[in-house]
């Protein structure tokens, strides 16, 4: 299957196809059409401008509106439509605009005489007015009104330094009700909001925002249906994290999302970061073109600012740019003017800056940045994917994304069942897949893995696991009883066997047996079971029962979870000692570990960790900002948060709060 749906979209589509392929931006479309249909003659015309970045769907929306007029009889009778699309970039002055309108109208059978500008020049205003009156007169003769679709409306009103054309256009629109403008604009031009500009609050401005997760899913389902690839839709419902991660990091505009869908079709089975790389590569020509419009000094400042990722101040930029503050400020002002950069003003005098288009920022990091920057991008993409993958239900509804905290969470259980070594139990996962894990740490894990393998003869365990998963309990029990297993392991599987059937007291019994026989995995599972059930007393009893060696083994294999258990059960001196060993300047701890610390109210401990370990801070950007928010009173630093992670930060916080309610009521 090698169908490029982007191409498919851009090719000359028939009207039916335009209608069929119009999936997102339905609301905006309905809004405008409702209004047009209900406008009676004699009433005012509402003019619209859709403001959205490149690829946000402006042209498609305008095209869709156009088609509606050609298909619906009643509309066709009353209106003619002229669509000055993006390609018609020759429109720079108001008379160009009218000139193009006349050409299009003539192509539709109007007979407007061509006036020569030379008989008016240098009085181009008269020429403009004459062209306009020709249009009005032609429309009135045909008893029609004009819907004028203009893709780059900002360019037309920005084209001249003064407001001459803008004033004239407003005058013409005020004095004649024959033309309704529906336009697109990539920027929120100051013409729309400055008090002394003619078009101050004149248009109804509709912003075309990032697509929501639901909308992206709609796109995907549509294309998977159309391409006869039902697996695709299934895939995506199984792994929403991939979409969420990419949607958040690429600004989620329709064109990018379509590109993503296209890649899912043509190169299935990649992880989120991989797709991100592919999408970023596709954007390279666009962004390179945009960069080429900047001076070398502007480029320098923009790149350094992008590498910060978070918003940065002039002072922070000085050592990176090797320029003095004044120069940097001046350059930043230019970049702000040309909308590459936005200024953020906080309570203090100190201004912050960041790249306006966040996907552009990501593109910098992933294509121009050093290894360190790329690793950060990967860490963030992975984090988001993981977070939203594990959410069974939308995290904003307060449901638990990590699963591990709830025994009944199906996904977490599956996840755990599918593992044969301790690596796969999230909280005990010592293997952080990043480059930051110290060598020493890695070795330790390797050792652990081997010792685990010695204990478990996985050749026997696979069939057991499968039988239980298939709910074939008779077979499962038979296998457990007859396989050549270490007794501890056998008891452990008995526990799983009962637990899977929700016979928890039996399960508990076998867990305890297994633990007595030195099976540390059983100890982990049972205590995490108690933990997830908030059975604090059970945990205390359990740890009072077991031997020193067992505790030592547990600490070795499942250290971070053990630390959390100390915290949870209030053994503060032990907790403090062990936590300090974990939260060091050169170690990236597990995200689950940080989350659990936050759940158990250790905002300051986590904050201090991020302070001494900047790499961890970069690695866990969303967790860092969530910590700041929980801590409170850090408004100025919070302003630095890149907007693409703000939803995730909110989701993290609401998850933590739900968990806190659970543990502390």
């Amino acid at each position: 299957m090698n169908t490029d749906i982007i191409q498919y979209q851009n090719a000359n589509q028939s009207e039916e196809e335009i209608i069929k392929n119009f999936i997102v931006r339905q609301k905006e479309f309905a809004r405008v059409m409702d209004d047009i249909r209900s406008t009676d003659e004699g009433s005012s015309f509402q003019h619209y401008i859709f403001v959205g970045s490149r690829g946000s769907g402006k042209s498609t929306l305008l095209r869709r509106i156009q088609v509606e007029f050609s298909l619906e009889k009643a509309l066709k009778q009353q209106y003619v439509v002229v669509n000055l699309s993006e390609e018609q970039s020759a429109v720079y002055k108001l008379y160009d605009l009218w000139d193009y309108v006349i050409r299009d109208l003539n192509a539709m059978g109007f007979n407007i005489e061509k006036k020569d500008f030379r008989s008016y020049a240098p009085d181009m205003k008269s020429y403009t007015i004459v062209l306009h009156s020709q249009i009005i007169s032609a429309l009135q003769t045909k008893k029609k009104r004009l819907i004028l679709l203009i893709d780059n409306f900002d360019r037309i009103i920005d084209s001249v330094g003064n407001d001459e054309d803008a004033s004239l256009l407003r005058e013409l629109l005020m004095n004649h009700k024959d033309i309704r403008i529906i336009g697109g604009s990539t920027v929120m031009s100051e013409h729309f909001w400055k008090y002394d500009k003619p078009f101050f609050q004149f248009f109804s401005i509709k912003k075309l925002e990032s697509l929501s997760l639901e909308e992206v899913k709609k796109l995907l389902e549509f294309w998977s249906d159309k391409m006869h690839l039902p697996e695709l839709a299934v895939q995506i419902n199984k792994h929403p994290g991939k979409i969420e991660s990419i949607r958040m990091l690429t600004d989620g505009m329709p064109r990018t999302m379509l590109l993503f869908v296209d890649m899912m079709i043509n190169r299935p089975e990649q992880n989120g970061y991989h797709y991100l790389q592919l999408i970023v590569d596709k954007a390279t020509p666009i962004y390179q073109e945009r960069l080429s419009r900047l001076s070398p000094a502007q480029k320098k400042v923009l790149s350094e600012l992008a590498y910060f990722w978070d918003a940065a101040s002039v002072d922070e930029l000085i050592p990176k740019c090797n320029m003095d503050g004044k120069t940097i400020s001046a350059l930043l002002n230019q970049l702000t003017q040309s909308k590459y950069v936005v200024k953020i003003k906080g309570a203090t005098k100190n201004l912050l800056y960041r790249l306006e288009e966040r996907f552009f920022n990501l593109w910098f990091i992933m294509t121009q940045g050093g290894i360190q920057q790329r690793l950060e991008a990967k860490a963030l993409a992975d984090f988001l994917e993981k977070w939203y993958d594990q959410a069974d239900i939308q995290p904003s509804s307060g449901n638990n994304p990590y699963g591990i905290h709830s025994w009944t969470d199906k996904k977490a259980y599956d996840h755990w069942m599918s593992g044969s070594s301790s690596d796969n139990i999230p909280i005990a996962n010592e293997v952080s897949q990043t480059a930051y894990v110290s060598i020493k740490n890695k070795k330790k894990t390797d050792v652990l893995k081997r010792s685990d393998q010695e204990r478990f003869t996985s050749g026997f365990e696979e069939p057991i696991k499968k039988a239980i998963e298939d709910k074939n309990y008779v077979k499962g029990l038979e296998l457990i009883q007859n396989a050549e297993l270490d007794e501890g392991v056998r008891n452990y599987w008995m526990a799983i066997y009962y637990e899977h059937q929700k016979k928890f007291s039996d399960a508990e019994k076998y867990y305890l047996h297994a633990i007595q026989l030195g099976n540390v995995k059983a100890l982990n599972d049972l205590s995490s079971y108690f933990y997830k059930q908030n059975k604090i007393q059970k945990i205390r009893d359990l740890f009072n029962q077991i031997s020193k060696e067992m505790i030592g083994l547990f600490l070795k294999s499942y250290r971070q979870f053990a630390v959390i258990l100390y915290l949870y059960s209030g053994k503060m001196d032990l907790f403090i000692k062990l936590a300090q060993e974990e939260l060091t300047a050169d170690k990236i701890v597990l995200d689950e570990f940080i989350l659990s610390l936050l759940i158990h109210k250790q905002n300051n401990l986590v904050f201090n960790y991020f302070e001494i370990n900047p790499k961890a801070k970069e690695h866990y950007k969303p967790l860092f900002y969530a910590t700041l928010k929980l801590k409170g009173g850090m408004d100025q630093t919070l302003l630095k948060m890149p907007p693409e992670i703000s939803q995730n930060v909110d989701d993290i916080i609401s998850f933590i709060r739900t968990k806190q309610d659970f543990y502390y009521g």
Binding site: S43, Q46, S137, L139
Partner: protein, 390 residues
């Protein structure tokens, strides 16, 4: 569910079924017109001037020939008078009498018609100022009264001044005076000049004094009174799917605070969008809060309103900003309080001029019954959060 939108318009002047009658002010304007007085009709932007006079021009029950036009692109004396000639011609031809006069001008000015009620004057090399005064003399004989509503007039004066210097601007101002003071002219020709910037503000810049237009009759357009605002809500919501009970209406109006129709329209539209999405007709107070929040976010360009003050008036910024902050915090401010603030900033001499020429002329606040208020509720709330009073 078939969803009916409220009858809103947000941007273009409200006309036809979108226009909510404002009879009090219409009557006041007619009254002056009846008395053959030229009127200067003033209000900050977006308050609804154009909507009102467009309605008046279309629905005139008197025997006058009326016409409305936005004239903001005119930038010379010639432009302006050529337009007056054209408008007068159109206004007269609509009345249907005066045929011989019309054909005289038709020839002289080389008039061609474009569609109904629209014409252009083709002849360029005439002095249209002179033509216009000739025309007025003809009209006296005909005893036909013409009323022209000229929108954005102060802008035109400003452009003439900028482009052609103050001699030309003074010519126009003197003509205005002649038109006002010559009874023969007044009997047949009345102008209603609309503007958002105080005309006297510009005149002062042009001539150094304000007295050139002081005797022009001024009418101010204010925000809606609470009862009118209620009626306005009903007007917008008539036949709409969205339902809103009286208490919620009051809540909505309280939220907006100052009843400029435009902002009420915006809020209603946002509420409707919100309910439409959920296909739920009943508007609640939390919906209003939410819609309002969204609106505030959409109108986030206030940074510029702030920085403009500090950039262009660095020495006055402390004073101006405190006036706005107190006004935002208390919703209203009296002139006495403003003077008090001025003293604390040692701005005894220019405080009133700054108030008029900056805060009012640039659209921040306006006064009504000696109370100063923000024009835009969104700007007010933004300012309140940006510059809280501690």
């Amino acid at each position: 569910m078939e969803w009916k939108r409220p009858n809103t318009i947000t941007g273009s002047a409200a006309e036809g079924s979108k226009y909510f009658r404002r009879e009090d002010i219409e009557d006041r304007l007619w009254n002056e017109i009846d008395k053959n007085n030229h009127v200067l009709f003033l209000a900050p932007r977006r308050v609804g001037k154009s909507s009102i006079v467009k309605h008046m021009a279309k629905n005139n029950v008197h025997s006058f020939a009326c016409l409305y036009e936005d004239i903001e692109s005119d930038s010379s004396i010639q432009d302006f008078y050529r337009r007056l000639c054209r408008m007068t011609y159109v206004a007269l031809s609509v009345v249907g009498k005066n045929k011989s006069l019309l054909s005289k001008w038709l020839k002289k000015w080389r008039i061609t018609s474009i569609g109904k009620e629209k014409i252009t004057i083709e002849k360029n090399d005439l002095d249209y100022r002179k033509e216009f005064f000739d025309l007025l003399r003809d009209l006296q004989v005909q005893r036909q009264k013409i009323v022209l509503f000229l929108d954005e007039f102060p802008d035109v004066l400003w452009k003439i001044y900028k482009r052609h210097g103050n001699d030309d601007a003074e010519i126009l101002l003197n003509d205005l005076r002649t038109l006002r003071q010559t009874k023969a002219f007044k009997d047949v020709f009345v102008m209603v000049l609309l503007g958002s910037v105080g005309l006297s503000h510009i005149v002062k810049k042009v001539t150094g004094r304000a007295d050139k237009v002081n005797d022009l009759h001024k009418e101010y357009l204010y925000a809606l009174k609470p009862t009118q605002a209620m009626a306005f809500l009903d007007y917008l919501m008539k036949d709409a799917t969205m339902q809103i009970d009286d208490e919620t209406k009051k809540y909505l109006l309280d939220k907006i605070g100052h009843f400029i129709p435009y902002y009420i329209q915006l809020t209603i539209e946002e509420c409707d969008d919100l309910l439409f999405e959920e296909q739920r007709p009943e508007l609640t107070k939390p919906d209003i809060d939410k819609a309002y929040k969204i609106l505030l976010k959409k109108h986030q360009y206030f940074e510029d309103w702030d920085s403009r003050l500090s950039k262009y008036f660095p020495h006055k910024y402390a004073y101006l900003s405190e006036v706005l902050s107190v006004c935002a915090a208390n919703n209203k401010l009296t002139i006495q309080e403003i003077y008090n603030i001025a003293l604390s900033h040692k701005n005894e001499t220019e405080w009133k001029a700054d108030l008029d020429d900056i805060l009012i002329a640039d659209g921040y606040i306006s006064d009504e019954d000696d109370q100063y208020q923000f024009n835009s509720p969104f700007l007010k709330d933004w300012w309140k959060s940006r510059h809280p009073i501690i």
